[in-house]
């Protein structure tokens, strides 16, 4: 047996022993356990409000990734600014899963209501993808809160008022209806700045 053969034999045995102590790695996302999934599902923190989404869009948050899980038909009619369309039925396409398989973006799913986005959230979470949220109430809530905000009949406190003002501002930004105060409801009195009148200047006349 010459040296070259011996080297080959030893190398093969070393490689073989090394690989014998390893186990196959699964590269695909491993599904999380059902009890853990339930724990995650009941967390309210997985929801974001339309106002928060609006704020992120307006401030051009670079970490925001909006995913519209409705059909292409609905998507082509109306969607949120910058949203990607991944219909629920196409969620598991490899090129679509790539949008979920990252940890840079805050992925927000939305549909018309909450349920389709919720289903997508559960499936994606079950596959082990992270940083995924659902827009609470979906586009219906978006229209109600952002595009056509109603003025509360009674504004209970400062926070409510701020929220309303915010919604009104967002509505203008997104081109929704600007709500004017309804008839009969007196508009809140706004202070008008008092401009002090200066001394009248003498102008001409018979002096």
């Amino acid at each position: 047996m010459n040296g070259k053969n011996l080297f080959g034999i030893i190398l093969l045995i070393i490689l073989g022993i090394f690989i014998a102590f390893t186990s196959l790695k699964k590269h695909g996302k491993t599904e999380i356990e059902p009890d853990k999934l339930i724990n995650k599902t009941i967390q309210k923190t997985r929801y974001v409000l339309p106002e928060e989404v609006a704020e992120s869009i307006i401030s051009e948050d670079p970490t925001l990734q909006l995913i519209d899980v409705r059909t292409h038909k609905f998507y082509s009619k109306f969607t949120l600014k910058g949203a990607i369309n991944i219909p629920l039925s196409e969620l598991f396409k490899e090129e679509n899963l790539a949008y979920f398989d990252q940890d840079i973006y805050k992925t927000i799913l939305f549909s018309n209501g909450t349920s389709d986005a919720d289903v997508a959230w559960i499936l994606a979470t079950r596959l082990g993808y992270k940083n995924i949220y659902v827009m609470k109430g979906g586009l219906n809530q978006w229209v109600e809160n952002i595009l056509q905000p109603k003025e509360n009949e009674v504004i209970w406190d400062r926070v409510d008022d701020q929220l309303y003002q915010y919604r009104k501002g967002a509505s203008e930004y997104f081109g929704g209806k600007v709500v004017e105060p309804e008839e009969g409801v007196s508009a809140p009195k706004t202070k008008t700045p008092i401009v002090k009148k200066g001394k009248k200047q003498v102008s001409g006349g018979c002096g």
Binding site: T22, L24, H27
Partner: protein
């Protein structure tokens, strides 16, 4: 992440062509385009076939597991054919007989045709006729038999209850034993290497 190209990719044929050229070239260089060298393993005067095929199998299995270990290859995406035990045994017997009689296996026969060997050409014509015969009589003769002994997508490791890595180690040791054995036979019977 391997596979580098999706199965439906238009690159498939191009990649297949390049791999085919490389494979043919290696076969030819290893002397596998001559039926005397190939049939030699059955007559006991040339054992290169055993060495080459064991080396290829060991390299491939080690390569697959190491690529998986380093996260390059996703094992779940590696296609594995279903094992039909009985039809495979019968197919193996037919293949073995053909190998001894003709002196080629399908791949090496095509390689030998490329070098202009008449016997290889006859072999390829025979293969083609066999393929047509099988295809046209499949429904009447072979369909039921083909499914015989279906044991699913099993690996040797699973069958004997060890991990893939251990199965490969056993295979390496078995291969090394085979190398040693054929060398011993050659020495024992004073078989000289032949140039074809």
């Amino acid at each position: 992440m391997a596979p580098i190209f999706e199965q439906t990719s238009e690159w498939n044929l191009i990649i297949a062509l390049l791999i085919g050229i490389a494979f043919g070239w290696v076969l030819e260089r290893a002397g596998f385009s001559t039926s005397r060298k190939l049939a030699g393993v059955f007559y006991g005067y040339d054992f290169v076939v055993i060495k080459v095929f064991f080396t290829a199998a060991i390299t491939a299995s080690l390569g697959l597991l190491f690529l998986n270990y380093f996260g390059v290859l996703d094992f779940s995406k590696v296609w594995m054919p279903t094992t039909f035990l009985w039809s495979t045994i019968v197919g193996g017997i037919i293949m073995g007989l053909g190998f001894i009689l003709g002196g080629f296996c399908p791949g090496t026969s095509v390689c030998a045709v490329a070098t202009g060997k008449i016997d290889a050409l006859a072999f390829v014509v025979g293969i083609t006729l066999g393929i047509f015969f099988y295809s046209f009589t499949y429904e009447y003769l072979w369909e039921d038999f083909r499914e015989y002994g279906n044991i699913g997508n099993v690996k040797i490791g699973e069958l004997i209850g060890v991990t893939e890595g251990v199965a490969v180690l056993i295979f390496i040791l078995f291969g090394l034993f085979a190398f040693w054995l054929v060398d011993k036979i050659k020495k024992e019977y004073n078989i000289k290497d032949v140039e074809y």
